[in-house]
């Protein structure tokens, strides 16, 4: 194993992320001995550009990939100048290997490969979910948390054991973020800055009634597609001038409120079950839906009940970003992990528990 990197005092990685509609490039600096508790991670830059589709529509792979291709150079230059480093300072180029949408992943992988060849750097392919988890741990300092990873494409409850991030529970169909995004489309809510954010704002005005939606928890897993179907039906009922359980008309805000209350209660419940199962009192929320303050509040109430606490980050780190890919990639790089150029592929399916977490005990 090439150990020269482990002996360096300052290690720098550039990370490229583009598994969904965000293109993110960031530069991270690791200082101190590898594996030492005193080692620190510093964010040198974290630049993101998001592809926003018109209200009522989702982002399609082809358009998203085109967006990433057109903005890659601009975002990369910005990330380098924000970081104030020169190309010679970079030790490795990290990119998202998966999971994600095929076309956008490919665009970014090609771009990362190009940088590696151009600058003569080594490549590190990173699992997107592990990137979220490691960044969340680094930012919040949560040592051994149960992780709730909630985004537009993933819904997983994860706990670390024996060098793997093991999945305790997950969605049986669509991701919770996908459920929210698609309901935003039903209501014709804007996708700017994010459909989930706009649902959250709208939900704050609701709450006069709690509309009855299915509550679908199966063991540590949950299901959202039936809830979305029912919410869509209720939306149609509302548009047709129907009334709620109290005989009064209800609003899109009431629908958003009820949807959030129901799906977040399910997420908190499966997280609590995993915490009880592994005997942990810390919970870390990562992924785009993780910046929802109502979810954080509910999770906090649950964790407090169990004598623990919730760790969450803000949109800079919750929402897909390049810095988390740089950070997780550099952690792997420091243990000797490399992705040779002829293996620098990407994949739509890449489970969190497939990664050997060599950097943790």
């Amino acid at each position: 194993m090439d150990n020269t990197i482990a002996k360096k005092k300052r290690r720098i990685a550039l990370g490229c992320e583009g598994s969904a509609n965000k293109l993110g490039i960031g530069v991270i600096l690791h200082e101190g001995d590898v594996g030492s508790p005193l080692a620190t991670a510093t964010v040198l830059s974290n630049v993101r550009h998001t592809f926003v589709s018109p209200p009522g529509t989702g982002f399609l792979p082809k358009d998203t990939a085109r967006h990433h291709r057109s903005f890659f150079v601009r975002v990369a230059k910005q990330a380098l100048s924000d970081a104030g480093i020169s190309i010679a300072d970079i030790d490795c180029i990290c990119y998202t290997k998966g999971p994600g949408m095929g076309a956008p992943l490919t665009s970014v992988a090609v771009a990362a490969r190009t940088l590696a060849l151009l600058w003569d750097k080594e490549l590190v392919g990173v699992n997107h979910c592990v990137g979220h988890i490691e960044m969340g741990r680094a930012i919040t300092g949560a040592a051994h948390p149960v992780v709730l990873y909630v985004s537009g494409g993933n819904t997983q409850v994860i706990a670390y054991a024996e060098q793997r991030y093991r999945i305790f529970g997950e969605t049986l169909d669509i991701a919770v973020g996908n459920c929210l995004d698609r309901f935003a489309r039903t209501l014709g809510i804007s996708n700017d800055p994010a459909p989930g954010y706009n649902i959250e704002q709208l939900a704050k005005q609701g709450g006069r009634v709690l509309l009855d939606l299915p509550y679908a928890v199966k063991g540590m897993d949950c299901s959202f597609s039936g809830i979305l179907t029912r919410a869509d039906e209720l939306a149609a009922h509302m548009k047709a001038g129907g009334v709620g359980p109290d005989g009064e008309p209800f609003t899109p805000a009431d629908l958003c409120f009820s949807l959030q209350e129901t799906v977040f209660a399910m997420l908190v419940e499966i997280t609590e079950r995993a915490m009880a199962h592994v005997g942990s009192s810390q919970v870390l929320i990562v992924g785009g839906v993780g910046c929802n303050e109502r979810l954080q509040e509910m999770m906090g109430a649950m964790a407090a009940d169990r004598g623990g606490s919730v760790y969450a980050t803000d949109e800079r780190f919750c929402i897909d970003n390049g810095i988390m890919i740089a950070h997780a990639g550099l952690l792997a790089y420091e243990t000797g992990f490399r992705t040779p150029i002829n293996e620098s592929t990407c994949t739509q399916r890449f489970r969190t528990d497939e990664v050997l977490v060599k950097w943790r005990k």
Binding site: S19, A20, T96, G98, P99, G100, M101, L105, H128, C129, S151, G152, G153, N154, A159, A161, E162, R164, R166, I167, F168, E170, T171, L172, A175, N178, L210, Y215, V217, K218, G219, M220, D221, E261, T262, A265, V268, E269, E272, R273, M275, A276, H277, G279, E297, M298, M299, A301, M302, D305, R306, D320, Q348, R349, F350, R351, T352
Partner: protein, 298 residues
């Protein structure tokens, strides 16, 4: 009723939470908080007479949940849990008996099950063992009573007590599904290992072993009793049963990674115990595939 990993923390915690009203009435012995599971709290108290221990399962209101949703879920879950437990009890599936309940107040009194959770027993047993499980010592016990069809018979004498426990788990889950009930949260934390006591072992396993083996296997002895039916439903569908097995399989893999490969034994004895098992196991394949596919997007 999921049981905590450290039962020693019991007495001090009693004051940590306000007691449900039913436990504030005068009693000969104060209730003790056994655990705070995910679903609620479990107290040990007595039912009718001071020498009849019972478990009181209390689902406190969840502060994080909308009050209407919370009330709806608590009441529905408690009622359905009692219904399911009674059905299992009638059909001879090993579960705690229901003594009394008040769904609106959120509590239920159940038979007290002695013993430790299966999870704890397995981890204790695995913990005593050397890292290299495959390196078995030859103790010349080739004629040991491993039931026919045990998928892991070749794995050796060393693992016999664990394989035997896995078989008992499969049998109990098979009996549960035969009854028309799916558990909804099958994990090794939700199974108790009730000691056999002086009555002798029902299937003669480990009874005639050498002393050292007996000691080692001892932690894995006992009847498997299913607990915590908080998410159980009455269902005869292959899909639900397969998801039940899938939940157990995944919980097993994440809780006991070192014994993960023995899980086939559970499915083998499940097949023997339950006539409709083949179609459920076929469905389990589908459920697993679906599980893999779930890693779709970022």
């Amino acid at each position: 009723m999921a049981t905590s990993s450290s039962p020693s923390e019991t007495p001090t915690q009693s004051q940590q939470f306000p007691l449900p009203k039913v436990l504030t009435y005068p009693a000969s012995a104060p209730p003790t908080l056994i655990t705070q599971g995910a679903e609620g709290r479990l107290y040990k108290t007595t039912h009718l007479t001071p020498d009849r221990p019972c478990a009181l399962k209390y689902r406190p209101p969840k502060a994080y949940r909308h009050p209407i949703l919370d009330a709806r879920l608590t009441k529905a879950r408690l009622s359905s849990e009692a219904k399911v437990l009674e059905r299992c009890w009638r059909e001879g599936v090993p579960v705690p008996a229901v003594y009394a309940m008040d769904p609106a107040a959120g509590w239920m009194m159940l038979e007290w099950i002695e013993g430790v959770p299966v999870r704890m027993a397995i981890n204790e047993w695995l913990g005593e063992r050397p890292e290299e499980e495959e390196e078995e010592e030859d103790q010349g016990q080739q004629d040991k009573d491993i039931p026919p069809g045990a998928g892991e018979a070749a794995a050796g004498e060393e693992e016999a007590p664990l394989v035997n426990l896995m078989r008992r788990i499969g049998t109990v889950v098979g009996a549960l599904h035969r009854t028309g009930v799916v558990h909804g949260d099958l994990t090794t934390s939700n199974m108790m290992l009730r000691p056999w006591g002086e009555k002798g072992q029902p299937n003669g396993c480990a009874a005639s072993e050498e002393d050292q083996d007996k000691q080692k296997g001892k932690v894995l002895e006992g009847d498997v009793v299913l607990i915590d039916f908080g998410l159980a439903t009455q269902s005869m569908s292959d899909e639900d049963r397969a998801v039940d097995l899938y939940v157990l399989e995944r919980a097993f893999a994440s809780t006991h990674p070192r014994a993960e490969r023995l899980f086939t034994t559970v499915l083998d004895s499940y097949r023997e115990a339950f006539k409709k098992a083949p179609s459920v196991l076929a469905k389990l394949e589908d459920v697993r595939m679906r599980g893999r596919k779930r890693s779709m997007l970022g």
